[in-house]
């Protein structure tokens, strides 16, 4: 029944297809690259797309296509680690905040509010300014920035579940707080968390691109999509393929994640069930 509803929306299916394609690209990347993504060839600098180099070459003569293929693995990693970080932190904060209420709740939520008050880019830049540039710090920064979203969503779920009778029943039969939180309340918080994870995966990839563009991301020669784009921006006039293709790749994945996440939301959101 769940599957049927999910498939009914054609856009969701498109999303799922896009995600699968990208995941496949990342997994099969060693076999899909035509050249060594790191190999420089100064005789082939800034070549337009050709039979040999499908998407052209960059300023160091490296094959853009292969760098983009390898970049998909970076994108997957960035998405996965950032989302995991926000998820773990956010879920824990949301659970405790929602369940215990009172001062714990006020303090945690005020902090979350303060974090949310910063435009995302600023906060990410701020955190990276403290931690220093690099891919891992980037993933931490994005993870921290998106934590409040998870916390808030989990907290609202907890608040509505907390009052239900089966929680009362559990307490009366002697379950301690910890087991109530983790065995009874947590399992019911999953739907919005899953939706949020899917969508934030996409946002993490977008932010990686933005931060790399500003020079704060993966150090060269790592071929993250953002850094390939960033390296290409100075050559817009003579070699537009350097900026165009990574952007298209990013758009594909994020589009897929968003479409699929929307579809999930349409199906999982209990308010929409008829």
């Amino acid at each position: 029944m769940f599957f049927k509803r999910l498939i009914k929306n054609k856009l969701t299916v498109v999303g799922a297809v896009l995600i699968t394609l990208m995941a496949l690209m990342a997994i099969l990347s060693p076999w899909l690259t035509t050249h060594d993504p790191y190999k420089m060839d100064f005789k082939q600098r800034l070549n337009p797309p050709s039979q040999d180099h499908f998407l052209g070459t960059d300023e160091y003569g490296r094959d853009v296509y292969s760098r983009i293929v390898l970049g998909s693995t970076v994108a997957m990693r960035v998405g996965f680690f950032s989302v995991s970080l926000s998820l773990i932190l956010g879920v824990l904060l949301g659970l405790f905040s929602g369940y215990y209420g009172g001062w714990t709740d006020s303090i945690i939520m005020r902090i979350m509010d303060a974090v949310v008050t910063f435009p995302t880019l600023l906060l990410a830049i701020g955190i990276m300014a403290v931690l220093g540039p690099g891919l891992i710090n980037l993933m931490i920064a994005i993870g921290v920035v998106y934590t409040p979203r998870f916390a808030r969503v989990v907290r609202s779920s907890v608040l509505s579940i907390r009052e239900k009778e089966y929680i009362e029943a559990a307490r009366v039969t002697g379950c301690n707080n910890f087991s109530i939180i983790f065995q009874h309340i947590l399992p019911n918080c999953w739907p919005p968390v899953i939706i949020l994870s899917t969508i934030n995966f996409g946002y993490a990839i977008l932010w990686e691109a933005a931060l790399s563009y500003l020079g704060l991301g993966a150090p060269p020669p790592t071929p993250s999509w953002g850094s390939v784009l960033s390296e290409g921006k100075d050559f817009m006039v003579i070699a537009p393929w350097l900026t165009t293709f990574p952007g298209i790749a990013i758009a594909f994945v994020v589009l897929g994640l968003n479409l699929f996440g929307d579809g999930l939301r349409d199906v999982l959101d209990p308010r929409l069930k008829e």
């Binding site: 005020r110 303060a114 691109a209 817009m236 900026t243 994020v254 968003n258």
Partner: protein
């Protein structure tokens, strides 16, 4: 009603304090020594200590925070290390640029988003709806700066219709200024419009399922009236919250867009200041940005009660 307004304004205070604390701590923990930056690499040995003492950097953290807070409240954001001018003056000069960029961006954004959202909801599950939804999701899937670069490439370099860089104040030359702003504003508007349109659409869908819509139809009101009067007002309330966030996003987006399009606004200033390690400027800008965001959210919350009178009476 008045109670609600006052209560709401009071909740800002702890948030602002926390925000200031975060800004202060962030700046403090950035590696690098401001005193060193100030005097330069080749200063005499005692110089650095002297400057550090003068800047108050040897005091314990909480005293530094307190002094800084006291200065901020008086409107003194310190002096830029690079420009040797009061930060507040620099901010004041550049604010109009960012504001005009933001204004046009939101204007274009809403002009696109509101009709799209309504149309998509009114024609749910038809191809029109799928089309709009697809474009909207595409809008939020594209990296903003990439779109900006593509815009520059197409409209400036290839077609030569609009200038890519530079800024003319609107007060100086209105249409010339607008020309400079069209490209960045529209590029940015694409991103925010998508989010607003989606929110409006889902809001409208939810509202259209409500009983009072059936009542309105049962009264014999024409469908247009039902949608644009009855449904829209109710759907607008949650959408307003999203619009508020988008205004905040403009401020964030200004960093990238002003840098790409060479608009001398606050975003560009904060970006170069970070690179130059000009801490007072970074601090001041962060503060101004965060405060304006808080302010925007407050206005949004207060406006909310116009669209949904029920909330002023809760509790």
């Amino acid at each position: 009603m008045r109670v609600y307004v006052i209560k709401r304004i009071l909740t800002i205070v702890p948030v602002i304090l926390l925000v200031s604390l975060i800004v202060f701590l962030l700046i403090h923990f950035i590696p690098g020594d401001p005193a060193l930056v100030f005097v330069g690499e080749d200063a005499a040995p005692g110089e650095v200590e002297r400057i550090r003492f003068e800047m108050g950097l040897d005091q314990p953290l909480y005293i530094q925070f307190g002094t800084w807070l006291a200065m901020v409240v008086r409107g003194d954001f310190g002096e830029s290390i690079i420009y040797q001018r009061p930060v507040i003056d620099l901010i004041w000069e550049r604010l109009p640029v960012t504001l005009s960029f933001g204004f046009f961006s939101m204007l274009i954004s809403l002009m696109i988003a509101i009709p799209s959202g309504i149309l998509a909801a009114a024609n749910q599950n038809t191809y029109k709806d799928y089309f709009f939804t697809f474009i909207a999701v595409l809008g939020i899937s594209i990296p903003g700066f990439w779109l900006a670069l593509m815009f520059i490439f197409t409209f400036s370099l290839k077609l030569g219709w609009l200038p890519a860089i530079g800024y003319i104040p609107l007060t100086q030359d209105f249409w010339g200024g607008v020309e400079c702003l069209i490209l960045p504003s529209t590029a940015h508007a694409m991103l925010t419009a998508a989010i607003v349109a989606r929110m409006l659409r889902s809001s409208m869908l939810e509202v259209l399922r409500q009983d009072f819509i059936t009542t309105a139809r049962g009264k014999g009101l024409p469908e247009r009236w039902v949608i644009y009067k009855h449904a829209l007002k109710n759907a607008f309330a949650p959408t307003l919250t999203v619009i508020g966030f988008q205004i905040g996003a403009v401020i964030g987006g200004s960093i990238i867009f002003e840098t790409i399009f060479t608009l001398p606004g606050i975003g560009q200033m904060i970006y170069t200041a970070i690179g130059d390690r000009d801490y007072p400027v970074v601090q001041g800008c962060l503060l101004v940005i965060a405060f304006s965001f808080v302010l925007v959210n407050l206005v949004v919350d207060l406006l909310y009660s116009y669209f949904d009178p029920r909330i002023t009476y809760e509790r």
